[in-house]
Amino acid sequence: MLVLTRKRGQSILVGDDVEITILEIDRDHVKLGINAPKSVKVYRRELYEEIKKTNVESIVKSKDLIEELFKK
């Protein structure tokens, strides 16, 4: 892993068109500003993982549940 040290207001470039700027540092919180083309998706990792997990848990596994639902 590449490790870089940055101060507030400084940024890094990822490729030619993604820029990540350190906006604020407050104890163990860092606020980042990200400039990237629309085609580059930027997500918090834990949200991404949570969605993945929920998707997997949402596979319909039982016909009984469905029938119960549609009886209503």
Binding site: Y48, E50, T54, N55, S58, I59, V60, L65, I66, L69
Partner: protein, 142 residues
């Protein structure tokens, strides 16, 4: 087209119900082609059945029926396109506790049949909101 399903066996479905994920359902990156069919006329529920994997089906819902205040902010690439929005339902054995994923809806271009699961970063929505309670409160505050 003949579609193999786990719950209904082989069923004949018109090609017009086929959709293709250009941005995948997260965790199902290999699954591109599905059919999207309404559960019944007048039903807010839909089936999303994989064409590749008979065992893979999701229950989707029209979010605006259950969450009238629901708001999805789409990027400019969706401007002037005819789109439909669905949310994935997670069924619970006590079906009253079933939830919908409002933070990652499925967006379908009605004309091109291209679908994406999008993530609403910076929204107040979570992956689990009770659908049978008239509330958009998440199950667990996130």
């Amino acid at each position: 087209m003949l579609v193999k399903t786990l719950f209904w066996g082989n069923i004949e479905i018109e090609d017009e119900y086929k959709i293709r994920f250009i941005s995948p359902i997260l965790g199902f990156e290999e699954e591109k082609e599905f059919v999207l069919i309404k559960e019944q006329e007048d039903s807010p529920f839909y089936w999303l059945q994989s064409l590749r994997t008979p065992e893979l089906a999701f229950l989707l819902a029209d979010p605006f029926v259950f969450f009238p205040e629901y708001t999805v902010e789409l990027d400019e690439s969706y401007k002037d396109r005819n789109i439909a929005i669905y949310v994935i339902v997670s069924l619970n054995e006590n079906f009253k506790l079933s939830t919908a994923n409002l933070v990652a809806p499925i967006v379908v271009d009605v004309d091109t049949k291209e679908a994406s699961q999008i993530i609403l970063e910076n929204s107040l929505y979570t992956t689990r909101h009770y659908i049978f309670e008239n509330s958009s409160n998440p199950v667990v505050a996130g």
